[in-house]
Each structure stands twice: as structure tokens, then as C-alpha cells.
């Protein structure tokens, strides 16, 4: 949805339960969202309108209002529900307690320290998170006003409320197209075997011991990695499902939700990029590179989303075909040419085992090493660290005339996963913030990561040749500032009912 409002609420159990009862009829469930998505994709394909713009074509369908709800650890515990806390220790501890694990500042008073967060600081953890979504800003404003009346009626305090808007071309504020690579979730919606949750653009794989793709570069992953109650990805096999654990009924069809409000200091990013280019061009083999080249290597993609591994010499801007042209690559192995079921031929891509084209420290390689082995085990294990990212930018787009960062803008990062600890936190703490992991000595994720050693800042390693020389750049400049968030559990319809009933029992006692 191109327009969303994130609302964090606080109050006692009775008030939380009261609001949940009021908004429960408004919650959007999978079937409805899936039907809308299918229709939008069909129209988008017919009209060749993709990304944010594709929603406008749907506006005739009606005044759409979507709402999602997610509950914090405290009200669940007060209602006597313990399954989510037992399933994820980090959820039980909460984001503010885990903040430094994610690389956030440790010194109170430092920008980004949890004590100063706009939402989710240690003394005001949100109990409930609402996500409202509409096709248009004006309809969202109406929807928000109505929901806030319900909030007021329930006696809950609004701790935070902010709008997010998708930017043109689905860029984030640094100017790079976001969200190109997502996992392809296996499974069907309902019992109809033809009703696949993820459309297939490619024929089924006949190779048993390699990843299977729903679209070029889009690996099929078992749904239990994101939602409880379904088969999970086998850590030892690309395609095989792992039998589901016998999970508590409260968890079934639910998912953990991570919310991080990340302020982006675009001016600082661009200034640092200039400084890093100066460092790099001092080396003979990098003498000709410029700022755009460097920024693209920090991301792993050009602003259009074109991967540097495929488009080494410059940004093609528009994909020469569909967006699939921007996703048919892997790092360790060459990827063959494929022809989609629509008849589009997508060229293959050579491997980049030594990080000569896409550096090991590039953001897209750090957070999704694709077919690479990592410090956590073989590439089959790597498939278990995927997230369903559903973030949205907030604040006005950056203007090139701006030289400072007075304007608050950034990303309302939202991800869904089965385990906050094993997925979101591991790839943040163990990969992005490490100078070694996941693929060997390469530096930090300079774009989004944090340095473990506060004095030396973040480092990125660049090389033109296998075996070096390796050129290490460093920056202590911070351009991502965490300003809030929380860990939540997004319950199923059944679990919402259970929560309300458990609350009633609690009250009666």
C-alpha cells in the first residue's frame, strides 16, 4: 500500500483488550489481501504499471482500508499468554533491551540511544501497534481519524503516530530502488492447489539439490519461516521442508513483527561518500571511480535497482525488460540464462566469488548472501535468514539543494519472521555489523550496519583482483539513526479471539 500510518499505543490490559475488540472487525486477513494483490498484479501487467504507481490503477476498485494489529509482550503476559515469549526470547526481552545487540549507541545522550527514542524507549514500551493502509493519502487520513476515536474510547494513550509514503520509483531516501529482492513464499491460499501464494514465473525445478525459484533470483522458501503452523525450511536442504514443530495454538497463523524507525541523514551519507571516494581514488587501480560508483558498491545496486554484479559499468536506469533483469544473479555460482513462463529471456550472470564486482560488504550481499556459505553454515542455512520486509519511507524526499539534515526523514522498517532472534537480529548483529561475517574478511555493511568497535568506525574492503590488494576504507560518520520501534506478535484471527478471552478471564479473576 502506498500510504500507511503506524500507530503505537500504551495502556493497561483492559484498555488494550477493549481496543482489540473494537478494531478486530477491521483487521485485514490474508485472503482479502491476496485477492487484491492478484488483481493488482494482473492490471499492472496489462498496463505495464509497476510499483507505487500500480495502486493508482486500482483506485476504481473502491475505498480500500487495511488494518493490521500486533501485540507487545507485556499485555500478552498480563493476559496469561506465554507462548510467544517462549518461542522467542528476544521478543520477551523487547527491542529496547536488545538495542545495543543491534549495534545501537550505548551511551545515553548519544543520537540513536534508546532513551531518546520517539517510540519504544525503555520507560514507554508500546503495548499495541496498529498499521493502517490505504491507496490514497486523503482516505488514510479519514481512516486514521476514525481509528483514533476508537483508541480514545478504549482509554489507550497514543504513544506515536506517523504516516509513511512510498516514494516515486519505490526509492528509499538515499535514492535507491528498494524491495526488489524478496523471498518467494511457498504454499497456497486456501485448499485450491492452483491458488499459489507466490506466482510462478519459472517452470518447477528438476534439480533436487539446488534452490528452486518462483522468479529469476526469487528463491522459494517454506512459509514456516515467516508464519507459525506451516512447514519450515530445512537447514540442510534447499527445497525440502522441515516438519513443523508442534507449536502452541496461539502462535498458529501468527508472525513476529519487528518495527524500527530509522532516520536517514542523507546529507551525511552523501558527504561521507565523497570522502570515501577520495580515500579510494588514492589507489591507482581505483583512480577512475566516482561517487556514484562508490555508492552503488555500498548498496550493491545502482539507484535504479540494477545490480552492480550484472551492470558493472553504469546504471542502465530502466531495466531492459522486466524488473526480473535486476534479480537474476547469485554470488558463489554462475546463474544460467532463463526464459520465464511469459516468454521473456533473462540473461545469466557470472559468479562473483571474490567480491570483485559486488563487494562482500555491499548491503545486499550482507543481508542476503543468496547462495553463499556463511559463518553460520552452508548455503542451505542461509535460506533460513530471510525476512518478509514491509517497510515504508517517512518524511519528504531529499532535495539535491539540501545540504544539511534538518528534515526528519527515513524508513519505517517493518519485517515479519518466525524468529526475531534467529532471523532479524542474527543478520543485523552477526552479519551487517561484523567486519568478518558472513563471507570472510570484508568489512561492515557500511550503508546500514554499525561498527562493533566504536573508535574505528565502519570499514569496507574493495579489491579489483582476486588475492588483492585489498583497500580498506573507513568512516565514523553515522547516517542511520535509530529513533524508535518495538517487537510485536501479529496474531491470527483465532489468536485475537483467544487474547480477548484470556483477558476476560484475567479480569474476572
Amino acid at each position: 500500500m502506498p500510504h500507511q500510518q503506524i500507530i503505537a499505543l500504551g495502556g493497561d490490559l483492559a484498555a488494550v483488550r477493549s481496543l482489540v475488540a473494537r478494531v478486530a472487525p477491521l483487521v485485514t486477513y490474508c485472503g482479502e489481501a491476496f485477492a487484491y494483490h492478484e488483481e493488482r498484479v494482473d492490471i499492472a501487467k496489462r498496463t505495464a504499471t509497476f510499483g507505487r504507481e500500480s495502486f493508482a490503477a486500482m483506485s476504481a476498485a473502491g475505498r480500500l482500508r487495511w488494518l493490521n494489529i500486533a501485540i507487545g509482550a507485556k499485555p500478552l503476559a498480563e493476559a496469561g499468554i506465554t507462548a510467544p515469549q517462549a518461542a522467542d526470547r528476544s521478543f520477551a526481552l523487547g527491542l529496547s533491551a536488545r538495542s545495543t545487540t543491534l549495534g545501537d549507541p550505548r551511551q545515553p545522550g548519544t543520537p540513536g540511544h534508546r532513551d531518546g527514542w520517539l517510540v519504544g524507549s525503555p520507560d514507554a514500551p508500546p503495548d499495541l501497534l496498529l498499521i493502517l493502509a490505504c491507496e490514497h493519502a486523503y482516505s488514510l487520513a479519514e481512516f486514521v481519524a476514525e481509528v483514533l476515536q476508537l483508541v480514545s474510547g478504549a482509554g489507550l494513550a497514543v504513544l506515536y503516530s506517523e504516516a509513511g509514503t512510498r516514494l516515486p520509483k519505490d526509492e528509499e531516501h538515499f535514492g535507491f530502488r528498494d524491495g526488489i529482492s524478496q523471498p518467494g513464499v511457498r504454499g497456497t491460499v486456501g485448499d485450491d492447489p492452483a491458488s499459489l501464494l507466490t506466482r510462478r514465473k519459472l517452470s518447477p525445478s528438476h534439480e533436487d539439490d539446488a534452490p528452486e525459484f518462483s522468479a529469476p533470483g526469487e528463491v522459494l522458501v517454506w512459509p514456516g519461516e515467516f508464519i507459525f503452523g506451516y512447514p519450515m525450511q530445512d537447514p540442510h536442504h534447499f527445497q525440502r521442508a522441515l516438519p513443523e514443530n508442534l507449536v502452541d495454538p496461539f502462535l498458529v497463523d501468527g508472525s513476529f513483527l519487528v518495527f524500527r524507525r530509522l532516520r536517514q541523514h542523507v546529507g551525511a551519507f552523501r558527504r561521507a561518500a565523497r570522502s570515501l571516494v577520495e580515500q579510494l581514488t588514492a589507489f591507482e587501480e581505483f583512480r577512475e571511480v566516482d561517487e556514484a560508483w562508490l555508492q552503488a558498491r555500498l548498496v550493491g545496486r545502482w539507484p535504479s535497482g540494477a545490480p552492480v554484479q550484472v551492470f558493472e559499468n553504469g546504471d542502465p536506469h530502466d531495466p531492459p525488460g522486466s524488473l526480473d533483469r535486476f534479480n537474476n544473479f547469485a554470488f558463489r555460482n554462475a546463474v544460467p540464462e532463463v526464459t520465464t513462463l511469459d516468454g521473456e529471456t533473462i540473461p545469466g550472470t557470472a559468479a562473483d566469488q571474490n567480491g570483485l564486482l559486488c563487494p562482500f560488504a555491499a548491503h545486499i550481499r550482507k543481508v542476503n548472501p543468496r547462495d553463499a556459505r556463511t559463518n553460520l553454515g552452508p548455503a542451505t542455512q542461509t535460506q533460513k535468514l530471510r525476512l518478509l520486509r514491509r517497510g515504508i519511507p517517512y518524511g519528504p524526499a531529499w532535495q539535491s539543494s539540501e545540504d544539511d539534515d534538518a528534515t526528519d526523514r527515513g524508513l519505517l522498517f517493518i519485517s515479519y519472521q518466525r524468529s526475531i532472534r534467529l532471523q532479524f537480529e542474527t543478520l543485523t548483529q552477526d552479519w551487517m555489523n561484523s567486519s568478518i561475517n558472513p563471507e570472510g574478511s570484508a568489512g561492515h555493511d557500511v550503508l546500514v550496519g554499525q561498527s562493533r568497535r566504536e573508535s574505528s568506525g565502519r570499514t569496507g574492503v574493495f579489491t579489483r583482483k582476486s588475492g588483492g590488494p585489498f583497500r580498506e576504507l573507513a568512516t565514523a560518520e553515522e547516517w542511520i539513526e535509530p529513533t524508535g520501534g518495538g517487537y510485536f506478535f501479529a496474531p491470527s484471527r483465532q489468536a485475537i479471539t483467544s487474547f480477548l478471552e484470556a483477558g476476560e478471564e484475567g479480569e474476572r479473576q
Partner: protein, 440 residues
Amino acid sequence: MVASFGAPAFVNDLGAGPLAQWSAKVHGWFREAEQGLPVNGRLYNMIDRPADDAAHALIPWNGFPRKFALRWPTDVERRWRTAETVVDADMDGRSAAFFRRQGGGFVNARLPFRDQDEYCEWHTFRDPASGAIERIVFTSENPEYWQHLAETDEDRLLQLYRQLVSSNVARDDLFFNEDVFRPEVRNGQTLAVNQNGRYNPLNRWNTHAGIVHLTHPANSLGAEVALAADATILRRGAGGDLVTDDGNLICCAAYGGVNRSSDPTIGGRINELVRGGNAVTINDPIGLYIGDIDFQPIEPPGGIAAADCWRVVRGNAADKMILRAQFALPEGSGFALEDVLVGGEPLRFGAQLAELVTIVIHGRAIAVAGQAPTEECIRKCCRRSDIPTLQRIAELDEACPEPSPIAEAPGDDNFVLTANASAAATALAEEDLPNSNSRV
């Protein structure tokens, strides 16, 4: 090219003679491993083959045992506690390869060790009376080096034990004073060699009461060299294509533990380098090393920096060659280690820090011409029927029954490492013989 191999991390324990002997020993392992490979084998060593232009390949993996993380993905508390319990048989039922005579044969001596099999071991030193944590010590020191030290300089051995663990260490504590046998291969024959009077690597100061070097039967430097050698052989799957995925490779070649982070990663990287037209070796000084610890999740009290609690005792951090490091609060801080928050909760187990440790080996690769040795798969993997998140190596013609869903925690609350494993221990201990499968 080097003239001789250095001691791990170039530590200065050995005199010139013993150091030369150590070098010869390491050199011998390499030569033996190289000779065990087919013609045109792709393992080399830095003494015999000059290659100044070799590329460095740092191979990292996590220090906390992956098998526990796979077994109990959500029960964090259980895997922390289990991982730092000293055992006499590991989760897979393996005991250390030491035996006592019984009747006309041998039974396993069930000596203690840590079930920490990622070349990273730690010990949480606690106050005997209160149970409060005094310090947590990590090591990646290989047992062969300490065995060598014991054989060449007993005084230095005792001095180091006293320095590293306790002033109460007595010389007799470090040596067997009973008939305990260890299988040793001599001239192609496996002999039961009486260790009475020899160094006991699983002595109490290196197990229950402290830590000096690695103890898990699979954590040996010889095993690392053997694994590296085995991984240089390219493998063809049933369809004739080269096996390239790390997980499939280790199942196909059976060169290590399939449920570890370390073995599939090391073997996979080495095999990848060979597929890329290289010969490979391990950089001098040969060793396993603690590469890094992530301080970020660690919040000591009173404004103390986490880095000030971490002291590299042996080796060096700058070159990612740490052999031994200790986590403790600075002297006189006035706080207890339980006041330190790790990931937002009080420090109660060394395992909490082990999850933040990265272990590395330093590989080297040189481009070579010709075709690398290529062989068929010799094994495959099956899911373990008792724990579906784990695999086991199986014979090619063996059936792999599919397990049914099981609960992660309920039902196996009474799981006890030693009791569960006892029946299998003696038989499986035979696999600890120093052959190329010793990491399995």
C-alpha cells in the same frame, strides 16, 4: 615459502629444539595428508612449495556449537546450559578415544571433555561457594601442541598451567598415573598405546576445573589438516555433475560433521578454491584462531567498556590469531560479572559470550594448472529420525526414513547427555582414530 612452521600464533613457549620438532610434526601431517591424495592432489604446504603470490582466504564460522542451535532453536536457555556442561560422551554419543582394559578387551575410559565442537571451547570459572562467575575463558588451542609441549618441556607445561588456570596445579595432575590406552597408528597398524606416565590432555585442570586447550575429540589440528586434504578432492554426484554446495559436499565426501558451522564451511571454501584452479594450504602458523568477539551486545555496569573486560592472553587480535582470551571485569571495579548485560539480560553462562565469538582459519591458495582429482560420492546424508533438524552421514545404499514432526522441548526434558549416549559410546569411539574422518 617458509623454512619452518611456527608455533600457533607464534607464541614463545618452546625452545629452538622443541620448536623445530613441532615444525617437523606439522610438516609431517601435511606430507602424510598430501601423500594420501590422488595424483595431482591440490593440498600443498608452505615448506615444500614456494608461493609468495598466494592469495589469503579467511574462513570464518561461529564459535557456539551449531548442533545445539539446530536442536533447540528457540530454547536458548537449554542450549546455553547444555553446551557448557562437561560430559563423557557428546550429543552424538561419542567419547574420547581413551580406553581401559576390561576382561580380554578394552572399554572406553569415559574421560571428561567439553561438548563444544566448533574449534572453540570455553570454561566459566565460578566461585565454588556462591556459584558467582569469576571469569570466562575461551580457547582455540589445539591439543597436539600441548601434547608436544608436555613431551618436550614438562617444566614449561606446568608453569603455563599454573599461570593460566591455578597456582594449585601439581605436576602429577597433568599426567596419567594409571593404565589408560590410546589408539595410535604406527607403520600402518593401529596399536593400543599405554599412556601411563604420559600427558593427560583431559586432566581436571583442562576440563572440570579449568581450561587450557581444546578437549572435544573432534577438535584437533590433525583433524583440520585431514579435513582440508579431503576437501581438495572434487566430487561428482549421481548425475555426473560436480557437487558444489557445501552441505552436499560434506555429505558426499564425509569429511566432517554435517551439523557444525565449521566443517561444511571450511571444506566448502577449500573445494571452491580447488574448483577455481587453485592448490590450497593453511597459512603459517598453522592453527585455529579466535578471530573476533562482538562487543556490541555486551553492556558492563558503571560505564566500563566491554573491550576493557576482554583480554587476549595468548595470540594476538590484530592478525585475527587469538588463542586464548578472558572475559572478566577490571580489577577493583566493585561489580559482579552477573551485573554485565549481554543482549539485554544478565550474564549467567559463558555460552552467552560464545554466541558472539567468531573462529577463523587462514587459508592460502595458488593458481595451478591441470585437472584436480575428482571422485564419486562415498556417502550421503539422512535426517536423524530422533532429531529432524539434524543430519547424519549414511551409506549410499541406506534408506533414509522420514521422521515425523516432533516437539522441540516437551518430551525430551529428561534428555541427559551421558545416559542417552552410553550404549553407543564404546563402539563409536573407534571412529576417533586419527584418520581422515576424525572430524565426523
